[in-house]
């Protein structure tokens, strides 16, 4: 009897002790380190494709987020009104499914108490997650959904740090206008998903302003397994520039079909695909001379106002992930999203979601990724795309000249003379 009373007393004491110690980190700043005060951790949620069809890109995005996370926590966290807050990122695997991504994002907010969101991978998932951000009035900074359709719906809480879809191949057109002999005709093939159609439309609108005529413009169903018929039709128009706005699989298939059918264009440029090492591995020497538009390359030279410069970023990436590979643009743009969120929180001097949203809307910073500044829709239209070319099995930045490390190898020799 007495024993059990003592035992229950002991349990009560332990419980009270546990509760009070548990409450401490969430309460007033503890201020153990003297001048710098520390506050509760900032919790950021991210539904991202760690498995499924875009697991590759999803994991690269996560690497980009983690790069910033380890850096900011080494600095002691984000400073909000003189108080340092360490950061946690809670991930959920959306299995590359846009619907699941939205569900998991809601879960991160309501059960995981995420105060801010870093975006998922891809335009479809970003589009469905933007709805959740809006509903909960939680700012989402995203780096992997470039379709303008996401930003034309009047959402107030979604911000994208990357250049919009319409600009993806505009850089190639700009570059082509500076080359001699100047190419004058463009054939463009495009997948029929939102993003790809926008990229293609960007070319169709932009090329005539640079004195180039679009002689062939066709869309194929997304996920087509054979596009040789379209390449044959494009060949019949004898274009100077052959472009594809689609995905890696189609870029590989189109490059193969162009060689099969002897389509000798002066410029072969594909929106997505050639920037990945897989493109070169899959095609070997046939990958040479191919151009692509890229959000970022490890060679670009910007003058960032905070965080790391390009060279240090590449070095830090190699150390952190124990690899010889350079970080690709998925990694860099994802880190850039974190930087935008960090700067906005600092500028807002508050963790209030609405205030951070307003600070994001006003943000204008230079980072290693380029300028980050949003238009009224939350889209970063201020950063240029760079043009890459594969030369002797390596990626080189060839345009714009002020950030380029090589000149374009032009014109592309005919397939028969390679």
């Amino acid at each position: 009897m007495r024993l059990s009373r003592i035992a229950s007393l002991a349990v009560a004491v332990v419980l009270v002790a546990a509760c009070s110690s548990g409450a401490a980190p969430g309460g007033a700043p503890s201020g153990s380190g003297g001048a710098a005060k520390t506050g509760a951790d900032i919790i950021i949620g991210s539904p991202i494709s760690l498995t499924g069809s875009t697991s590759n890109e999803g994991n690269l995005s996560k690497q980009g987020y983690d790069m910033w996370l380890s850096w900011i926590n080494e600095q002691g966290g984000i400073t909000v009104d003189g108080v340092k807050h360490k950061v946690q990122i809670k991930y959920e695997d959306d299995q590359s499914k846009p619907d699941l991504s939205a569900q998991l994002m809601q879960k991160l907010i309501s059960e995981g108490h995420a105060q801010f969101i870093l975006g998922p991978y891809g335009s479809p998932a970003t589009a469905s997650d933007a709805v959740i951000a809006e509903k909960n009035q939680i700012p989402m900074v995203e780096a992997n959904g470039a379709a303008e359709a996401i930003f034309n719906k009047g959402y107030k809480y979604t911000f994208g740090v990357l250049s919009p879809a319409k600009k993806y191949l505009a850089g190639v057109i700009d570059m082509a206008a500076t080359l001699t002999p100047k190419p004058t005709t463009v054939a463009i093939l495009s997948a029929d998903d939102n993003f790809s159609v926008e990229v293609a439309q960007g070319v169709v609108d932009y090329a005539p302003t640079k004195g180039m005529k679009v002689v062939f413009d066709q869309k194929y169903p997304n996920g087509s397994t054979d596009v040789s018929s379209l390449v044959a039709q494009a060949k019949a128009t004898n274009p100077d520039i052959l472009m594809n706005s689609g995905h890696l699989a189609e870029a590989i298939a189109i490059n193969k079909a162009a060689k099969d059918l002897g389509l000798d264009a002066k410029i072969l440029a594909y929106s997505v695909g050639p920037s990945t090492p897989q493109f070169i591995k899959a095609l070997g020497k046939d990958a040479d001379y191919v151009y692509d538009g890229s959000q970022w390359t490890p060679q670009v030279k910007y003058t960032p106002s905070f965080y790391l410069g390009e060279a240090d970023y590449v070095k830090a990436y190699k150390t952190m992930f124990k690899t010889q590979d350079d970080p690709d643009y998925h990694v860099a743009e994802s880190t850039a999203a974190c930087l935008a969120l960090q700067k906005a929180i600092e500028n807002a001097s508050s963790l209030d979601p609405a205030k951070v949203r307003d600070a994001l809307a006003k943000l204008d910073v230079m980072t290693f990724f380029g300028q980050i500044k949003f238009d009224s829709r939350g889209l970063n239209i201020y950063k240029p795309m760079v043009v890459e070319q594969i030369q002797n099995g390596e990626h080189h930045t060839v345009y714009p000249p002020d950030v380029a490390d090589k000149k374009p190898e032009y014109p592309t020799p005919p397939w028969s003379q390679r």
Binding site: Q218, V227, A236, I252, D260, Q278, A282
Partner: protein, 287 residues
Amino acid sequence: MSLLAQQLVLAVLLGGVYVAVAVGFSLVWGILNIINLSHGAFIVVGAYITWTLFGRFGIDPFLSLPLDALALFVIGYALQRGLINRVIRAPVFFTLLLTFGVNLAIVNLLLAVFTSDFRSVTPSYAGSGLTLGPVVVPYIRLAAFVIAFVVAGLLSLLLARTRVGAAIQAVASDRDAAQLVGIDLRHTYALTYGIGAACAGVAGGLLSTVQAISPTAGDPYTLQAFVIVVLGGLGSVTATVVGGLLFGFIEVFGQAAPGLGAGYANAIAFAVLVVVLVVRPQGLLGR
């Protein structure tokens, strides 16, 4: 005019690839009455075997085709014997569910082993072809076409001329009677499924040379195989060949339909399917 000739050549060659994609699917459906939703995954496994042998050991993709067939035969035989045979007499819904599950398992296994990177096999002679005036006949596609017909021919011979083929046909027409005359049902089922998987493996090896592959690339092939078999009709290799060639033509000329644009290629393909189903529900050559 030269464009039309080029399109015709492409259509015939592509049709050959589709014959390879569908012939194993047709066999399994016709004989075992299983709509094998893991067919696309088998194709991708074959493609990865070819890719691995080419990348690691420099083995020519066409030389690795027999190995694709053998490996997939073993996998198919074991899967049928150990797993699918348990639901062979269950309603079709169960086999759909089970093969769908097998598909998921294979795809995720491939993702774990090979990651979701896209791969492709590009031998040194890729891209060269026979030039007939303005028309190009790419060697790789030509070879794929020939091999597809060799596979279809061998399968046809196997079914018509050998004891094993006779046993398979007997099981298909009346499984109880077949068992009464001493045919080992389980072995024959597994054999049929294994042969179907082997055909898929060869198709995968061929596809790895013309297209980019990834672990999730298989699903469209399952769908294509389904459409081809419905178009051609169940029950014979010839029907699948006709269905495959027809589908090649639909795909190529669907992308070139005047005034419509390539975006309607799928719509045209399925419109043809609907018309065939209305006019000849058993397929063009179905019994």
